[in-house]
Symmetry: C2
Subunit: 390 residues, 2 copies
């Protein structure tokens, strides 16, 4: 069992009636707030007005950065950091889903470096130890960014989408009201759900060292929750139980509870980031296309027992099969979940992607070296997985 | 589903090679340390010397409070607070199990009140918002005090054992090395294990509102871990996997992960605290005697489905029984676990306890009102449960 550090100081207010505590929590952190959001959905829903009123009537000064992209751009981050420097901002408040939160975290870090260019941090793989405090009002269950130490930023000039990490990026406080996700479309819900599922898979015990039984079982419980509640949320968008289960699954998947004593790999994430960087597709959809192919690619006698166990525990596949057969049934069950239950298109070609950049993307994905995991992947392995996705 | 706040800023270093980070973490909190411990076991094991050397060679100034009792006394807390005031202590460092940690937390709070008397806080049911920082080196898997917001203090003058709570009591940092629990006896291991089991039971969904499936399944996973690993740790005291699973189960049981959206009741704890207050018995043993009787007492058509589910999920009891019968089998399985597997004596009379104070204890346990839970308990209910334990 690996030694580990468990630390997540993020304070989460979860539920219907919690937003009233937002001003009180922000006032602990400062007075001048950069309110960061994406498209117009929070204006349509009334959330924009609610938050503005809450902040202003409680003596907070509000500045704004609107228009964060679904795969947030380094240029948007830099624009936000410029506002923070100029206006002497104390707190970055993200109102939205993963992209808005990631952008806000990156702004919080970039404000405190002289160049004001986030790409300096990203390209040098800096572990961020200083940043403005970030607060979150979550509207989408997906990335887990509301409780984790990561932000993924895209540079469309160079076709790069890269993670920026650091303890200073963990939000200080997050408000999670499942009702705020009622307005998500079935497609957005599906993509978010599979992002959560895949985050758990990143910690799953495929062929690594022994870990805690209970943590393995926690992981399976979160995956089962996604498999159970995602289709319900798609069919009944205002089903509170379904939205609440997905939202809390999103946070649990990446708040280090499921990491304890495990090996954290993220092969699928690394491969998907290239798809989003080159083609700006929705992250969760890219993951859904890649994951079953990746599992098929790494399936062997060493990895089969864990893959099969996942099938038994999460998809109710019968026990006592031959392990390779059981693992194959598991992969089929994951495919069915992605492409039937969640209704996501199953091939890259369906999204207008061909093999033109696969070689280049594969090199990027492994930074010219390997992606570690239950089976380490070289760039030619990664290219092979991309081809299986066509 | 209930709204909730999830917040636990405690930083845990878990594993074999973590204690080297102790000085670095303490230096973030100050320089003057009150080193609190219980009996001589940490001297015998060498831990006392290791820690002293680590602290002193890193420029920390060490003061000492030794001899914390298994049910820590208010007088010992007051003595510790006096040292803290006199010596201008920055940090209270608990090295030991739940009693030492509880005592240290109470010292940390009492130092900052003028009277210097912990009983002022306890008897007025004060929610502690100011305390010195507490750090922990854990040697026993049991109370969860290493990650929770509570301390239980006994006043032997008045036969009272009462919890003191507050966010300021959550330790700032905890070091959990499973090897430090190798020296525990089988009896100590058994008592600690059942304390953990019961903490999870306190959050279990007996008859309350719906909660997250995944949280219910997390609870069952932790209980399964206790049921699996406790007997192994008893037979093989230096089995690292067994000790690690129990230690992390102890922390997970009370660090709020298992609380999310649930109703937290603690009927058995309330009833047991009276046993310890009047007879100074080991807490986990008292819980083991009370728990199956309490379940029997509250068993009815409303509570049976959840009790039965617990039996299926944790003890592998067959499904498709009549619910009352299934619940009865579950209670029998818990009794067998306590009194056969863990080898604990099953009756209060075995511990020399008779019914002399039951009426008085029952009044204390419910503070002259009721204990809330899946079935609320009046003092006469509590007295009846005590009598079942004779």
């Amino acid at each position: 069992m690996k030694d580990f550090i468990f630390h997540n100081p993020d304070k989460v207010y979860f539920g219907k009636n919690q937003i009233k505590y937002l001003p009180e929590e922000l006032l602990k952190l400062g007075k001048r707030v950069l309110f960061v959001y994406g498209g117009g959905s929070i204006k349509k829903s009334g959330l924009y007005d609610t938050i503005n009123e809450l902040l202003k009537t409680n003596g907070l000064e509000v500045f704004e950065l609107a228009g964060v992209e679904p795969n947030p751009r380094h240029s948007t981050v830099n624009k936000g950091a410029e506002i923070c420097k100029k206006e002497n901002i104390d707190i970055v408040l993200a109102v939205g889903g993963g992209s808005t939160i990631d952008c806000s975290k990156a702004i919080a870090a970039t404000t405190l470096i002289e160049s004001g260019d986030v790409w300096e941090l990203v390209s040098n793989n800096v572990w961020v130890t200083k940043a403005l405090p970030v607060a979150v009002v979550l509207t989408n269950a997906a990335t887990g960014s509301e409780m984790d130490a990561w932000a993924v930023i895209s540079n469309m000039n160079t076709n790069e989408k890269i993670g920026l990490g650091g303890n200073a990026l963990i939000p200080k406080v997050a408000f999670e009201n499942p009702e705020l996700s009622f307005s998500l479309s079935a497609y957005q819900t599906a993509c978010g759900a599979f992002d959560i599922f895949n985050h758990v898979l990143d910690n799953y015990y495929f062929a690594g060292e022994a870990t805690f039984d209970m943590i393995l079982e926690f992981q399976e419980a979160v995956m089962r929750a996604v498999v159970k509640w995602a289709p319900i949320a798609m069919k009944e968008p205002d089903n509170y139980e379904a939205r609440a289960n997905l939202m809390w699954a999103s946070s649990m998947a990446l708040n280090t509870v499921l990491d304890a004593g495990t090996v954290h790999d993220c092969a699928c994430h690394a491969m998907e980031h290239e798809l989003s960087a080159y083609y700006d597709i929705t992250h969760g959809h890219g993951l859904a296309i890649i994951t079953p192919r990746w599992l098929e690619y790494i399936l062997n006698e060493r990895t089969a027992p864990a893959i099969y166990r996942l099938g038994v525990m999460v998809f109710g596949i019968e026990e006592s099969l031959d392990e390779i057969l059981g693992a194959k049934k598991t992969i089929k069950a994951i495919s069915d979940f992605c492409f039937n239950t969640l209704g996501l298109k199953s091939n890259l070609s369906d999204l207008g992607i061909d093999d033109k950049y696969f070689k280049e993307m594969a090199e990027h994905a492994c930074f010219g070296s390997i992606i570690t995991g239950p089976e380490n992947l070289t760039s030619s392995d990664i290219e092979a997985v991309y081809k299986m996705c066509l």
